[in-house]
């Protein structure tokens, strides 16, 4: 083999070597690029899941508060009924005491 042929061979081999390195770099870039996309998907899925839980928490709190509000309404009705009954039973006594206070006070 002549010296020129040997140089050609070396040049070819270096070209092949550069291709191997370039292909690896491209592949590495692809891995990193795909990973970034995957990372963004992970974030989006986690946020979507958290938003879903947030909606659930808010819905549950609202339902619970509305149930407590209904309870408050029932308790209020009970108190109002009690006052109305007391008023009927004790009105005469209250009027009598009040008249006495104004007359004698």
């Amino acid at each position: 083999m002549s010296g020129i042929d040997a140089v050609k061979k070396v040049v070819e081999t270096e070209t092949q070597a550069r291709r191997i390195v370039d292909e690896a770099a491209t592949k590495a870039q692809k891995v990193i690029s795909e990973t970034r996309e995957q990372a963004e998907r992970i974030r989006q899925e986690a946020v979507a899941s958290a938003q879903g839980r947030r909606e659930g928490i808010l819905r549950e709190a609202k339902e619970k508060a509305e149930a407590e509000a209904r309870q408050s309404d029932q308790e209020t009705e009970r108190i109002l009924d009690t006052y109305r009954k007391l008023s009927e039973e004790r009105k005469a006594a209250a009027v009598s005491k009040a008249v006495a206070l104004i007359l004698n006070g």
Partner: protein, 201 residues
């Protein structure tokens, strides 16, 4: 020559493969790190969303409940006030028609005596006016006046519900002893008395 060339070629290719392998490994390591970081950040972001949601939920709950509790407290206060006002109207009605009862003369005389005492005059002028009061049952009022005193009988009840107003002759000192005035003077006691009678356990 040929053998050493082949060795050189192999060496060049071997170095290239090694470098390629390192590049891939570095990329994979970086990818792994990126994913772990992404998972950590996603976890943190989720936790922040949930924590905010819990605070928001508590605020929603408090807002709904406090508004309801406020409305219901007002309803209870309104009802108590309605009951008390109803009783006060009945009291006013009874006071207005006191002239028809047997306690009228004593009461009217006491009102006159209190008013006369309050103006501290030897010649008080006393106006008296009750609904349905007759001249007959007002005649006795003169007995509680001092000698120089003057009784003026109004045909209509004074201040809506009736009562007595005394002044000195110059009209500088006035004592209002009408039911309306007594109701106003005893307002706090009256409300407390009615509320404690009706609403206490």
């Amino acid at each position: 020559m040929s053998e050493s060339l082949e060795k050189l070629q192999n060496r060049i290719l071997s170095d290239a493969r090694l470098k390629a392998e390192e590049t891939i490994k570095e990329a994979q390591a970086k990818a792994q790190q990126t994913l772990e970081e992404a998972r950590r950040r996603a976890q943190k972001e989720s936790e922040e969303i949930i924590a905010k949601a819990k605070v928001e939920a508590e605020n929603v709950r408090r807002s709904i409940l406090s508004s309801k509790v406020r409305v219901n407290r007002l309803r209870i206060l309104d009802e108590k006030n309605r009951i008390v006002q109803d009783i006060i109207h009945t009291v006013e009605d009874q006071l207005s028609s006191i002239a028809r009862t047997d306690q009228f003369e004593n009461t009217a005389q006491r009102f006159v005596a209190e008013a006369v005492k309050a103006v501290e005059s030897d010649q008080p002028i006393v106006r008296i006016g009750f609904r349905d009061a007759t001249k007959k049952n007002l005649d006795g009022m003169s007995r509680v006046l001092p000698k120089g005193g003057k009784l003026v009988i109004d045909e209509k009840p004074i201040d809506d519900f009736g009562g007595v107003i005394a002044t000195d002759p110059e009209g500088r000192v006035v004592f209002n002893n009408t039911f309306k005035s007594r109701l106003e003077r005893l307002d706090n006691q009256l409300l407390t008395l009615i509320a404690s009678t009706v609403f206490s356990e």
